[in-house]
Point group: none
Amino acid sequence: METTGRNTEQIILEAAEQEFLLHGFEGTKTTDIANRAGVNHALLHYYYRTKENLFNRIFEQKMQLFGCALVDIFNGSTLPLVEQIVCAAGKHFDFLADNPGMSRLLLTEVLCKPSRMEQLMTHLDKLKEEVLQPMQEALDSEADAGHMARIDAVMLLMNIVQLNICAVVIQPYVQAYADNFGERRHFLALRREENLCIIRKRLAPDSEETKTTATPS
Amino acid sequence: METTGRNTEQIILEAAEQEFLLHGFEGTKTTDIANRAGVNHALLHYYYRTKENLFNRIFEQKMQLFGCALVDIFNGSTLPLVEQIVCAAGKHFDFLADNPGMSRLLLTEVLCKPSRMEQLMTHLDKLKEEVLQPMQEALDSEADAGHMARIDAVMLLMNIVQLNICAVVIQPYVQAYADNFGERRHFLALRREENLCIIRKRLAPDSEETKTTATPS
Amino acid sequence: METTGRNTEQIILEAAEQEFLLHGFEGTKTTDIANRAGVNHALLHYYYRTKENLFNRIFEQKMQLFGCALVDIFNGSTLPLVEQIVCAAGKHFDFLADNPGMSRLLLTEVLCKPSRMEQLMTHLDKLKEEVLQPMQEALDSEADAGHMARIDAVMLLMNIVQLNICAVVIQPYVQAYADNFGERRHFLALRREENLCIIRKRLAPDSEETKTTATPS
Amino acid sequence: METTGRNTEQIILEAAEQEFLLHGFEGTKTTDIANRAGVNHALLHYYYRTKENLFNRIFEQKMQLFGCALVDIFNGSTLPLVEQIVCAAGKHFDFLADNPGMSRLLLTEVLCKPSRMEQLMTHLDKLKEEVLQPMQEALDSEADAGHMARIDAVMLLMNIVQLNICAVVIQPYVQAYADNFGERRHFLALRREENLCIIRKRLAPDSEETKTTATPS
DNA sequence: TATGAATGAGCCTTCATTCAT
DNA sequence: AATGAATGAAGGCTCATTCAT
């Protein structure tokens, strides 16, 4: 009988997550959350006081997850650099595919509220020190050795994140447009391979005419 | 002095566009639109009757523009295929950069409402016949000749659109994260080059180990 | 070219009358009146200042018409009293049938606003002196002579007005209920005869058991 | 002390009824209803969602009551036919007098909205089979026997309903006009007798010159 | 006279939130 | 912990009315 307490609190949280990810903050009504959770409308305020509060709880968790995943995934291994990066990009893709809605949350709910942007940035701070700096050094030395194209670490990470986020977000659009990609899983697998292919080719050492990325001033 | 009439109607439209792009449909209050436009709240309804109506006006226009731009830009020229595609990708990037918010509108407001998805698809129908089919044939013959990597036309277009849209949407995030990219223009220029570089490399004929894209079943 | 001025003013008035009679004061929108009149919305205020004003103009006219008709119709002739009354009742019926909407106006727009009730009463004042008092004397003397049933003049007039108003107002209901009465004209003719039949019988001298109307205390 | 719950719901309903009867649907503001009920404005929507909904609840109930009353009251007894009808007419009068506003609702709110007309008609369907048909046979056989005037059952019912409804609706007008009728109760009692007198005389067998009602073609 | 544009008041409704139990 | 009832603050929209031309 002690399970109910902690339980309904969790149930509400999960219901809220689904609603928020589906309709965004403004588009979600607390009533709908309560309905989905199967609890009384007022109870939700008993536990979380305000809608904003409830949203922040979820948002914070998602942003943290997003940041940690980046750090975890890209934090080196013993593979050769290119393989390490491509492998990490693949894992990152899987992570986003397993967390649908997170990408949408990122794209829709962060820009309008500066506070949320800051919140996001907080969770990306570790990334700079732990991932980007060592990665840049590794990238440079590999480039110096002519084993791969020269590229700025931020740009590279951006390429990966950008490709992956977009692939996940755009998926419903494409499947509405061209119905010959089979089910979601199959389509995402295709895009995953395509993204990795892009990254791999981007990292391949320049042959003759392909240009190096411009580096930030 | 001529500030009235057709003018206020336009002013409202533009104010609405900005608000909608900033806060989404649900997050925008008609009051805010009126305030931004500096007109009476009721006037907005005088011209556009309902909020939905006002939104649709903007949305429809943006979607049409988006579709037409794709067709126009990618509709062949006499350049060699790879250059033609890279050039088109660059133009498409410029188009999105010149129409900020369009990308966000696409990502934010289409998924939740099926009717809007259909609206978007309508504007992409021409694309299939006029662009994708001829492009596929050209791509295949170039690939057969070994001049470029084999790739599905839809996948290629998706790559381009995806990279470009994301670059524009993500720009504010990156600039909040890393302040060493200078102003918006400069950053976008960097991303443009990077995207084109990616496309170019993706189209380059496979050397030894790089894999071909999987094609839809 | 001078006709327009006085003309549009009249056109608006007529359009207003139709709308008000159809939808009542609250249910009528000035826009609808303007549309029906085919004139600009603002013009209606140019001529009549306010909606209330416009309504009152019509209301006043109708009430006056109603009152005058009663006086005119029931103001004696040389016929025998019963025939005179029955004949007047018939004329009153015709008057109401020719002025559809007036009855509705009476029933719906007078009760809620005391000022309108007073307005109506003003137009009924003449009735008391010119019609009711002489009629009562005539009725009494006829009753004394045993030529007709004894009846209070107010009650009699009420009977007539009540029967006639209701017949006109109820007509649409009945024709919706029982479709075997043919067109409006035919149905109204039937009701007219029925009403006159009722009045005539009511005035006929009591045979044995029929009771006389109670008179006011 | 139990004032809440089911109670306020009822209080709102009653307040709404009074407002609607007084000002009609269009003329009633939900704010006024809330004020009269002494409850928060939003509470009214909590219980009944929309103004239309609230109105329909009342309207439907009144129309059903109206229809049922007609059936109940006129569904035969063992009295002689004339007495039976006159008695029923009296009961019908009492019913309307006890349900003030119902008559006004009928006259005011049904004509403009076809859907409401249909709603009313639904409740009158039983009347046709259960009351009108048997009544017509009885009326005809009595007329054949020369015991009463020949009359169409629909016309007769219409006479009764018409007289009664009008008496109740017109009462405030008359009392504003002639203040010598005492209080409402007394006036209505007078009208009740008058109406019954009319009905009775209408049913009495024709003496010499009185005409029979025309029957529908 | 006539009109398109503009305005303010107010209405219906929703929704997050709080209260009492 | 849980709930039905209650509330205040908006939000979208309409409408009568006025302004400027």
